[in-house]
Amino acid sequence: MIVCVAVVGHQNNPLYIQSFNEGDDALKLHHIVHCSLDVIDERVNNPKKSGPMLNETFLGLLYPTENYKVYGYLTNTKVKFILVTTDLDVRDADMRNFFRKFHAAYVDAVSNPFHVPGKKITSRTFAERVSNIVKSFGLGSSG
């Protein structure tokens, strides 16, 4: 189950952060998302270590905390997507699929002419779409 998704801007500032699990502490999830930025920095700045995934937007598993797994995604405009899930066994393909949908939703949101680039995403439509994607995650993984 996905408990938190976040969009992080160029200055590592949160543009959108939403937690979905009532049982978890949102602040703790925010801390986890923030800490996983270190891994993204590390992977982006030292691409040699990452090896073949040079042009890959999907950054893979970032950070195994005690109860969560954190996945990352870097768009071509260097906006970071971060996902925190409680599922400890997730296929990479599912994750890629999720991020692709999420990216599409993000692109639609920032394409809004009333959106100022670099500002927080306050679009309600975006929030709804993200919540739908999050809900459908895991259900549609078989298909």
């Binding site: 978890d24 602040l27 270190d38 927080k120």
Partner: protein, 1145 residues
């Protein structure tokens, strides 16, 4: 890791016992101990002592009943120090090969030995020591011996066999742990690992099955055992360099045991255990990573195994160890409180000790004096004991130590966010311990990053802690600063679920508003600030006012932002100018400002704006006399809305008027000092710049929001002094051009005036051109300022206190004091050496008030472009005399370079005409024109004289109007036959024609160098002679004279072409010979047949020696014929100098 007993941490050490032959024991022991790995020895001097190894009878009995535990606590130690794995019996060879009684004795001893060691599975090695090398071993006896001890022959060795470690133990213990330990004995890591893993898995299976002990204790026992097994496995894996496997193994270990929390009251034991797992693994990883240099290389393989970067870092495990320790602490606290509620804390747990089995505890019961008995515990007793034990430890310090460790590692690895997270936890621990100072230090280090990266929620939490720290510290100022920052954070909704929020509560708009109200209550003095440990609370009053500074990088910019924009860029002194002061606050609620103090760099411009609705406020700022006070109807700030105030300001001082700070007073004793910012260069608000909120301009005029500046330039006062610089017409090269400068006061008095003069090339580039080297002009400057002469005579300015600094292109002179209405003038002398336009800049600086150095100077600038012109253009002609031509051989066969040089015949008079054309627009007066010899020409190679018929003293005639030429004729006679003859330099003295000529005026000298001439001996000279004019019908004689100047006979051909205007007599063609140094005269009688300018018959003279032909020019062979004899007097004139004729040519 240090908590583990040594036998667990280090590889096992085998133990061997030696029996018999005590004199050899020290040697053998020392040798075995030095082995790698070392082997312990237990030396028994006598065979009688062997019975110590025998198993105690009672334990043998109990072995029939099921064991009370899985593994005895001292098992490892026992096998290291007490129970040998190999017994070595040493016999002298005498005993073997000696008499039968000895043999019998030996057999008995061996039998005894065998019975003892059989119970212990100890292997026997029999060593027969040969005392003398020549002793022959009795093969029969050896065989018998072998048979007696029922051993393979390889266990019976002769003397030199010492390496007992090679002896194989064939132990058949089912417990694979033990096998693994033995495998480790033999350094068989792979085998050992396999058996350890088997044991581990077997143990895991026991979790659900074993019912031997009460549930809690059973779990504790199993976990303890698993921990030890895991430790062994990890050590072995890391020792073998298998980092990734070790980590994966650890991960598996954690996941399989993590869920075995156990019953509720014992959860803290589980978390403690888990924390220990992480700590031990972290320590293992840290120590082994030092031995594994290839750590980064292994990272590349991480992806496939789904390991992340963190899992290779010991810091990660330290961090998690502390996380679980926190978990344990909270569970322990819960258990403790439960325990206390039920009032069972009084039961002492003094006599519980670890029992004989690993992971088990038992109560020690004293049964008399020496005897003790162990009684198994119930779960309840065990929990009680554990809680009592747990109470003794200070978990917080452990947590802080672990977090610090990972904090340092993360900081070293440049993982700032992880480090911040750790420092946040450290700070929280310190905070809960009440160590506010330490807590603040770590909170501060984390808060910077959150501010920088605008993580509002995290910032909220940490600021809440910091605020609470400040409150406990008794620092009202810090408390207010943190409160203000929190209240101004961009948090609009509190819809997320926040559970652990720190002291500030969950981030939400309501909380911000609560904080805001709290602040307002404090600063207005309505509420008090509770001081910890003091009876009296702190209140913002007259005695303890509060002041907060907000600079350009302060996080409090969001609380109050002050922007100042002047409407104009420059202003005259003393003139009022408008500026807009705008204030912006992101505080959630609107609030009233009591007064605003505006401060400029020119302090006399400062003023205060009072809120008219708050008249009761004491006049803090306005106690100075003459302080400007403005009153505004309302000074209320609401969220994200600019409060714009426009006021006039007037400055009398020229220079920059800069608004420095805006001091806002809220309540009576609380002030915030904001650094004023220009709208044009204002940074976005931190945090809020990412918010989607309405952005408005600080000024009403949007253009000013982009270009407005908080500083304005105050001009200097208008100069009431006239500076005039005049120059009539262009300057002429060579003359001292005079530029009059006049300073006339029109109101201002001129104090300490200074006049600066600057010459600048209008086309750019300097006035100096060192590349053009002129031998006759020593000045390297094309234009130079020669000097400044005062109004009267020049001496009037040479007083000592007057600055006079004249350089080639720069001059600085001081101007004497002038009263209002007075004037002063001076003249600049500028000399041009090249035709060049220049700009003349003259600037006057003076002060109008007095000789004060600090007084502001007033500047007046004037500039003038002056052209430099060439006054005269000098040209010259070189001519031979009229109708007299010399044969110059170089002209006949011109060489390439000789062409340019004029040729002059030696000893012949040549005519030089020098003309000077006036190129200016003013008439010039020529004073004299001479040709001067160059100084360096040693011998006088030619003589130059002015032509005799000119009147040099006719001065009025020498005025040359613009465009006219002045001419003068010189005769040049070369006297020395040199290839290059210097003729000289034309020196023209001239001046501007300014009225009547004064005596003693030197004029300007312009020089023109005449080109060198080529002088050569002429072999032949042809002269034509005829009268100056003829009369129609009147015959005259036309002579052609050929002069031979050589030592040779010259053959000359000539021919005469008839002209239709004349009737001629004489031969038309002939060849003549002219004798050396003599002349031949051809004469013709001519009768003119027409009148006017007529062509004489053309004569052609050809010298066959030089193959040169001469024909007189048309002008030379033209004669004017009058129709009748003219009726006027005529002087006879010489042919040689006829300037008018030459000019006409």
């Amino acid at each position: 890791m240090e908590e583990y007993p040594e036998e667990l941490r280090t590889p096992p050490v085998p133990l061997i016992t030696l029996v018999g032959f005590p004199e050899l024991h020290p040697t053998i022991s020392a040798h075995l101990n030095a082995e790698k790995p070392p082997i312990n020895t237990l030396a028994l001097p006598d065979f009688d002592k062997i019975s110590v190894f025998a198993k105690p009878i009672d334990s043998a009995d109990s072995s029939s009943s099921p064991p009370a535990g899985i593994l005895k606590r001292d098992w490892l130690l026992k096998h290291r120090t007490k129970i040998p794995s190999v017994a070595v019996a040493l016999f002298s060879s005498d005993h073997v090969s000696g008499d039968p009684s000895q043999w019998l004795q030996l057999s008995t001893l061996l039998d005894h030995l065998k019975t003892v060691i059989r119970t212990r599975n100890t292997k026997l090695v029999v060593v027969v020591v040969q005392t003398s090398p020549e002793d022959d071993m009795n093969e029969d006896r050896m065989a018998a011996l072998r048979k007696r001890v029922e051993l393979d022959s390889k266990y019976i060795v002769n003397f030199s066999m010492r390496d007992s470690s090679e002896v194989k133990q064939s132990l058949n213990r089912h417990d694979s742990l033990l096998v693994a330990v033995y495998a480790e004995f033999r350094r068989d890591w792979v085998e050992a690992l396999k058996f350890y893993e088997d044991a581990y898995h077997a143990l895991r299976e026991m979790v659900g099955t074993s019912t031997r002990l009460p549930a809690i204790q059973r779990l504790v026992e199993i976990k303890t055992l698993a921990e030890q097994l895991h430790f062994k496995i990890s050590t072995l894996l890391l020792h073998g360099g298998k980092l990734v496997e070790a980590i994966l193994w650890f991960r598996q270990h954690c996941t399989s045991y993590k869920k075995l929390v156990g019953t509720a009251e014992a959860t803290f034991l589980h978390w403690e255990w888990l924390s220990r797992q992480f700590l031990v693994f972290a320590e293992l990883l840290e120590t082994s990573s030092k031995n594994l240099p290839a750590l980064p290389a292994q990272v590349s393989g991480v992806k496939d195994k789904a390991l992340t970067e963190w899992e290779l870092q010991p810091a990660y495990y330290y961090q998690l160890a502390s996380r679980y320790l926190m978990e344990k602490r909270s569970c322990l606290e819960l258990a403790l409180s439960m325990w206390e509620i039920f009032g069972e804390s009084n039961n002492p747990a003094e006599s519980v000790i670890p029992s004989a089995y690993v992971g088990q505890f038992a109560r020690l019961l004293e049964q008399g004096h020496e005897e003790v008995a162990l009684q198994p515990l119930t779960d309840e007793e065990f929990i009680r004991y554990s809680i009592a034990e747990g109470k003794r430890f200070q978990d917080s310090f452990e947590i802080i130590a672990l977090m610090k460790k990972s904090y340092e590692v993360y900081t070293g690895l440049k993982f700032p966010r992880m480090a911040s997270y750790c420092s946040f936890h450290i700070a929280k621990e310190y905070y809960s311990l009440g160590e506010i100072k330490n807590a603040k230090q770590y909170f501060d280090s984390a808060v910077k990053l959150y501010r920088h990266e605008s993580w509002t929620t995290l910032l909220w939490e940490i600021l809440g802690y910091l605020r609470e720290c400040a409150s406990q510290d008794g620092s009202l100022k810090e408390f207010l600063e943190y409160s203000l920052e929190m209240a101004a954070l961009p948090i609009t909704s509190g819809d997320s679920t926040y559970k652990e929020c720190g002291p500030a509560g969950p981030p939400s708009l309501q909380q911000r508003e609560i904080i805001h109200k709290e602040i307002l209550g404090l600063v207005t003095g309505e509420s008090e600030f509770a001081l910890k440990g003091a009876d009296q609370n702190l209140r913002v009053t007259n005695d303890s006012p509060l002041h907060i500074e907000i600079d350009l990088v302060s996080p409090l910019r969001v609380v109050l932002l002050a922007s100042v924009a002047f409407h104009e860029q420059v202003v005259k002194p003393g003139m009022p100018t408008q500026f807009t002061l705008s204030l912006l606050s992101q505080l959630p609620l609107p609030f009233e400002i009591d007064a605003i103090d505006v401060q400029f760099n020119q302090s006399e411009c400062n003023f205060v704006i009072q809120n008219s609705q708050k008249t009761s406020s004491p006049a803090n700022f306005t106690n100075q006399a003459g302080y400007r006070v403005e009153t505004a109807p309302a000074l209320a700030l609401s969220t994200n809305k600019w409060l714009r105030l426009t006021y006039d300001v007037k400055s009398d001082r020229s220079g920059k008027l800069d608004c420095i700070s805006i001091i806002v007073r809220i309540g009576s004793h609380f002030t915030i000092c904001c650094r004023a910012e220009s709208p044009a260069s204002m940074d976005d608000l931190p945090l809020w710049k990412f918010e989607e909120c309405l952005e408005s301009f600080p000024t009403k005029d949007p253009a000013q929001a982009f270009s407005g500046q908080k500083a304005i330039q105050v001009e200097e006062p208008d100069a009431q002094v006239d500076l005039s610089v005049d120059a009539d017409g262009p300057a002429l090269i060579g003359e001292n051009f005079i530029v009059p400068v006049t300073i006339s006061s029109k109101g201002h008095s001129v104090y300490s005036g200074e006049l600066k003069i600057n010459l600048v090339d209008t086309r750019g580039g300097g006035l100096v051109s060192p590349r053009e080297f002129e031998p006759h002009s020593t000045e390297s400057h094309h234009v130079e300022l020669l000097g400044v002469s005062g109004p009267g005579d020049e001496n009037s300015l040479t007083t000592s206190d007057n600055i006079r600094n004249i350089q080639h292109s720069f001059g600085l002179i001081s101007v004497p004091f002038l009263n209002g209405g007075e004037s002063w003038s001076c003249k600049l002398e500028i000399k041009w050496h090249r035709p060049k336009p220049i700009m003349l800049y003259v600037s006057l600086s003076y002060s109008s008030q007095g000789h004060d150095v600090n007084m502001q100077k007033i500047h007046v600038h004037k500039s003038l472009q002056i052209e430099g012109q060439t006054p005269v253009l000098i040209s010259h002609h070189m001519r031979l005399p009229f109708r007299r031509d010399a044969l110059l051989l170089s002209r006949v066969k011109p060489a390439a370079d000789a062409e340019k040089m004029p040729c002059l015949p030696l000893n012949e008079t040549s005519i030089l005409v020098v003309s000077a054309k006036n190129c200016t627009e003013v008439p010039l007066r020529v004073l004299s024109m001479t040709i001067e010899k160059d100084d360096n020409s040693l011998e006088n190679s030619c003589t130059v004289h002015p032509a005799s018929n000119q009147h040099t003293d006719a001065a009025p005639l020498n005025i040359v109007v613009p465009g006219e030429e002045y001419k003068k004729v010189f005769s040049v006679i070369p006297v020395a036959n040199t290839p290059r003859t210097r003729i000289g330099t034309v020196c023209l003295k001239w001046m501007r024609d300014t009225g009547p000529l004064n005596q003693g005026v030197s004029g300007v000298l312009t020089k023109h160098k005449l080109p060198d001439a080529n002088v050569e001996q002429s072999p032949l000279i042809v002269s034509l002679k005829c009268p100056p004019h003829g009369v129609l019908g009147d015959p005259f004689t036309y002579f052609i004279i050929v002069q031979n100047q050589t030592e040779l006979l010259q053959e000359i051909k000539y021919s005469l072409l008839d002209s239709q205007s004349f009737v001629s007599s004489g031969s038309h063609n002939d060849t003549i010979f002219v004798l050396p140094k003599s002349e031949h005269i051809l004469s013709y009688k001519l009768v003119p047949l027409a009148s006017g300018a007529l062509q004489l018959p053309r004569v052609t003279v050809t010298s066959s020696r030089y193959s040169a032909t001469f024909q007189p020019s048309v002008a030379a062979s033209t004669i004017f014929v009058f129709p009748v004899k003219p009726q006027f007097e005529m002087k006879t004139m010489e042919y040689s100098a006829e300037p008018m004729m030459l000019a006409a040519e």
